[in-house]
Point group: C2
Chain length 250, copies 2
């Protein structure tokens, strides 16, 4: 089973359906689909704003489960992870999402895990914090520590999704240029740069150091090397076709 | 200089002022304050929704700089980092925000860095991608790859803020319990558990293994150890006060 399927995003006492919708989209972006509302206080019972902001994650919104209490919403979960912006009493053993993500994935490989997010206006209450098995705080600038509900869901889900390692970063599809191809390219550049008068003979090695440095960063694939070889060849042709060496300079 | 001050969040062709406001809040959460709008298409010229959603980051919103073109908005930047949800032509050399964050912080220690986010409806155009020195794609589930604008800003800013290492995760403030204090606690528990008939003599070592295992996870601070020592003492007192051993059981 994909451990991401075992995460339950539990929103406690949420006020705005728009926030719920934004949470759904963030969840779907990060491979999570199971939303629970505990003791919701939604002002807009039709979830109109929520449906709009969920965009293509409207299925997540519509398949939500609602519970009268926090305890019921997390009753079947093997780990209950509270997010808190505050420190202080009862909240000293918090860790960051990144520190916690691996452990949560391990638990989620065999049992449901609740990711719990508090009210827009007052977060989680102390009695709710007490029922959490884990507490996390998102790293945040001291000058503005209050994070929007769906942004908090995004960061937490993003860390878990990233730790799950299911995402493969796209790699260059074009085959990398072998050194011999680059050597050919550099040889043509060297000849071309002398032909067009970019550098004098005695400066050649020094200037080519710079060209090598620049191209070692930029020329990676066979296509890259072919393009830059073409530039040298064409400049060589143009300089020869002009019937004279252009003025010195470089 | 704090490198975070050198980041410019550049929103290109943005449509909704609410998104701009949410971006401002996310930026402020992550220690960034400099917002630029390139060729904005804001439908709500007073930024009413934006002011509402920026909440305490309204200064970030109000001090935004507007530019007629993308090129002007990034003209002074030493690195131009485009975010893209798409792959394909011109977008093969993308990396993840986490892979890129360290390098961007290094550049930002001496020069401005633009974090560029495209239009809600069509992202960045190919000619804009071409002007970027770096391309990033946020890891995302294949089933829903389109991330809300302010959520994308949050993840990118969060990764850079985290890599900056300015955030110190809150640590337990209470002093940790030394082993001797725990030994005293365990001794009292051992005696108490025998006194109340929780375990027979021959089970003692076996049962105490379980108690040690549980308390090794849970009892960390001096306060923790003092609480659990108090429990053992009080149970001992109560059992003695009852004037008899309670019935056997475990």
């Amino acid at each position: 089973m994909n451990p991401l399927d075992n995460f339950r995003v539990v929103l406690v006492g949420t006020l705005y359906s728009g926030n719920v919708g934004s949470c759904c989209r963030a969840m779907a972006n990060m491979g999570m689909t199971r939303l629970r509302l505990a003791a919701p206080r939604i002002q807009d019972p039709d979830f109109k704003e929520g449906e709009k902001l969920a965009v293509h994650a409207v299925d997540v919104l519509r398949s939500r489960e609602e519970y009268a209490t926090f305890a019921e919403a997390v009753a079947d979960c093997a780990a209950v992870v509270g997010t808190t912006a505050r420190g202080g009493l009862y909240r000293q053993h918090v860790r960051t999402p990144r520190e916690t993500a691996g452990e949560l994935l391990e638990i989620a490989s065999s049992a449901p895990v609740a990711l719990v997010f508090g009210r827009e206006d007052k977060g989680l209450l102390n009695e709710e914090v007490m029922q959490c098995t884990h507490l996390v705080r998102i790293p945040v600038a001291e000058s503005y520590t209050s994070i929007n509900l769906s942004q908090a869901v995004m960061v937490m889900a993003y860390e878990i999704f990233s730790a799950a390692g299911t995402y493969t970063p796209p790699r260059e599809k074009a085959p990398l240029a072998p050194q011999a191809q680059k050597d050919t390219m550099f040889a043509h550049w060297r000849d071309m740069l002398r032909l067009i008068g970019f550098m004098e003979d005695k400066q050649t090695d020094h200037m080519m150091q710079g060209v090598h440095r620049i191209f070692s960063r930029g020329v990676r694939t066979k296509d890259d090397a072919a393009i830059m070889l073409g530039v040298a060849r064409q400049a060589t042709w143009a300089a020869n076709a002009a019937g004279r060496r252009p003025p010195e300079g470089g």
